[in-house]
């Protein structure tokens, strides 16, 4: 399948398959999961592909076991990944918190469907964006990327492995049912090398001694001579529990959050077009990005000064960059497949300096370009009136 042209392989892949190909290219060699719509193809493709590259696929007894085995394999020395949707992602939340606390690099794929509860298993949603950031108990930070195409499913999954190893943090790929089940052309660079897992120095080794930037220097593994103690209780730099030491606990909690938030500027991944003179900018992410771009182009054809933004990393939220990029605009429109969540982040970022309009769509259907264009035109008319 596929052909090699100009040092890249071009394949027709489903979004869920593109995620697997990217994971394999990034060096992922362990996947644990549990069947769930619309993420099952990730597990099915992993089951086929991983053994071919010497990797392990496991179908576990439930979603909780899947994320726990993934974390175990990460400390076991493999780059590791799990995938699910809706209810399964809810079940994984305790594990996400554990991975955050022990700083286990893992990638969590969420092929989002509509919720809550069993919700709409076969229909798209973006209702888990806040869950990705806040779903587990306690204070912690994660990174989340949002693909809007099969190509981005590939590119951002590869990037998710890079980021999880660098920041030693769980990284979400917030895909969705549309991206997951769409088939389109994906270009896979032929020279992609696996993501490196750096090993810490053994001299004076302390598993949780951070560098000045708050990050741990590399990722030790079991049976490599470190004699690790990894504990989900808040711990000191040696890994010993520190529940009786308020300063140590406060420092660790703060570091777990700030190692991400302090690097927010390096974690910006935004695509934009038509921004130069834009008065009305559509701020998009995930599947609605595609009708958004169409709507902006069509509005431009009608002489409306519309602009387009696509946030490919949604957490940490790129507030500073967003403010900078939208400085000249009067109105921001935020289309999202939920009750209106990220629109509040945008409002917070621009601090009342401009009109911010949510364009919420529920029910499991994607916005049409016409719906977004109509909102752009409405805002343009409101201005001229």
């Amino acid at each position: 399948m596929g052909q090699e042209v100009n040092n890249e392989k071009v394949k027709i892949l489903q979004g869920n398959e593109a995620i697997v190909e990217a994971a394999v290219a990034a060096g992922c060699r362990f996947f644990a999961g549990y069947p769930i719509t619309p993420a099952s193809e990730v597990a099915e493709t992993m089951a086929q592909r991983l053994p071919q590259v010497g990797g392990v696929f496991m179908q576990m007894e439930d979603e909780i076991a899947s994320i726990c085995a993934t974390i175990g394999a990460s400390f076991g020395g493999l780059k590791a990944c799990t995938a699910s949707s809706g209810p399964g992602i809810s079940l994984k939340q305790e594990g996400v918190g554990y991975a955050s606390a022990v700083e286990a690099p893992i990638v969590v794929i969420n092929v989002m469907r509509g919720g809550p509860a069993t919700g709409m298993p076969t229909a798209v949603g973006q209702q888990d964006i806040m869950q990705a950031k806040y779903g587990s108990h306690g204070d912690y930070e994660i990174i989340a990327l949002m693909p809007s195409s099969c190509q981005e499913a590939f590119d951002l999954t590869y990037k998710a492995f890079e980021l999880s190893e660098h920041y030693r943090v769980p990284v979400y790929v917030l895909s969705d049912e549309i991206v997951g089940h769409t088939r389109e052309k994906v270009r896979i660079p032929a020279n992609l090398s696996p993501v490196e897992r750096k090993k810490p120095a053994k001299e004076n080794f302390q598993p949780y001694k951070a560098q000045a930037n708050g990050l741990l220097d590399g990722m030790p593994g079991f049976n490599e001579g470190y004699r690790l103690l990894i504990d989900g209780q808040l711990h000191d730099e040696q890994g010993n529990r520190a529940a009786h030491l308020p300063d140590v606990c406060a420092r660790l909690t703060e570091r777990l959050c700030r190692k991400i938030s302090d690097h927010a500027d390096q974690l910006v991944d935004i695509e934009s077009s038509y921004l130069e003179d834009a008065e009305i900018i559509v701020v998009s992410f995930g599947s609605p990005s595609r009708p958004s771009l169409r709507a902006v182009k069509d509005a431009r054809a009608k002489g409306i000064k519309a602009g387009y933004l696509k946030l490919r990393i949604i957490w940490p939220f790129p507030e500073t960059k967003l403010v900078e990029l939208t400085a000249g605009a009067r109105t921001l429109i935020v289309p999202e497949l939920n009750i209106g969540r990220v629109v509040n982040e945008v409002k917070r970022a621009v601090g009342g300096q401009k009109e911010v309009v949510g364009l919420s769509k529920l029910g499991g259907l994607l916005h049409t370009p016409g719906e977004i264009q109509a909102e752009i035109e409405r805002r343009a008319q409101a201005c001229t009136r």
Binding site: R29, F30, A32, L50, P51, Q52, V53, G54, G55, V56, M58, M60, E61, D62, I64, A65, S66, C68, A69, T70, I71, G72, A73, S74, F75, G76, G77, L78, A80, E94, G95, Y98, F222, N223, G225, Y226, R227, L228, L229, I230, D231, G232, Q233, Q238, N240, R241
Partner: protein, 273 residues
């Protein structure tokens, strides 16, 4: 300090957090001796669940993962499958293993994955203050069964065997030598091995269920409540009522072990690719 303690204890994690008279120290001791006899320290991957007994591996100076309540076996599964040469030992309390972690337990046994589960059975949730456990005897009064436990206790060994475990043994903290030998056998066994340890909990089960916090009396009660599996063969059901069988209860060396079986498939798939 005893030379084995000197060699194997994680000094900076001391002192032990257990109450005076607790049986966990005996289990730690028996485990360390088994590890020493097998000479497998560098291949060890230890996993502790949540509860008093989940702390046993924290005090052993090897590679240790202290995880979430009930989830020790899945974490151990990830460790085993990321390097099948590891010897993975899980320490789990009766609540951790049979209550919140019950599903993982039966599926770990079903897979016959080469993991050793040492289940510390003290009949109660000790660390949280003495609540009813899946192993608490019927009618026992605890903090959350003040009118007497209306439920029937699990038999962990029978559950393990029925689920597919290929090594099953039960000993007690009153039998430290036999316990250490069984732990060594379990670690050496290629497959899912389960060692249940009946132990005294003076602070909670002792006071709350048995009316005494005296560890010696509690050990006597445990002894009186057990019978060797061999001796039990000639006894009637009436004579065995309420007794725990001790000894090796099941040992099957024929069934394929999961990691070995699956890695053969992986090697073939990788070679064909």
């Amino acid at each position: 300090m005893h030379p084995l303690g000197e060699k194997y204890l994680r000094k900076n994690a001391l002192p032990l957090l257990w109450c005076p008279g607790c049986g966990n120290g005996t289990i730690l001791n028996a485990t360390v001796r088994a590890i020493e006899n097998l000479g497998i320290r560098d291949r060890l991957a230890l996993v502790g669940g949540i509860g008093c007994s989940g702390w046993i591996p924290v005090y052993i100076d090897a590679d240790t993962l202290h995880v979430l309540h009930g989830r020790a076996i899945p974490f151990a599964t990830g460790l085993k499958m990321s390097d099948p040469n590891r010897k993975v030992i899980v320490f789990s309390g009766d609540g951790d293993c049979l209550g919140i972690g019950g599903n993982h337990f039966i599926h770990g046994a079903r897979r016959n994955i080469d993991i050793t589960v040492i289940m510390v059975h003290n009949q109660i949730y000790g660390m949280t203050g003495g609540q009813v456990a899946p192993t608490t005897p019927t009618a026992s009064k605890t903090k959350t069964s003040p009118y007497g436990n209306p439920e029937m206790p699990f038999n962990g060994c029978e559950l393990a065997r029925a689920s597919g475990a290929t090594y099953v043994a039960r000993w007690t903290t009153a039998h430290p030598r036999q316990l250490s030998k069984a732990i060594a056998e379990a670690i050496d066994h290629q497959g899912f091995s389960f060692v249940e340890v009946l132990t005294q909990c003076p602070t909670q089960a002792g006071r709350v269920i048995h009316g005494t916090a005296d560890p010696a009396k509690l050990l006597d009660m445990i002894k009186a409540n057990t019978i060797s599996a061999n001796a039990a063969k000639d006894k009637s059901a009436e004579e065995l009522a309420g007794k725990f069988l001790i000894g090796t209860l099941h040992h099957d060396t024929q069934r394929p072990e999961f990691a070995g079986y699956y890695y053969e498939k992986i090697h073939k798939a990788a070679a064909a690719n």
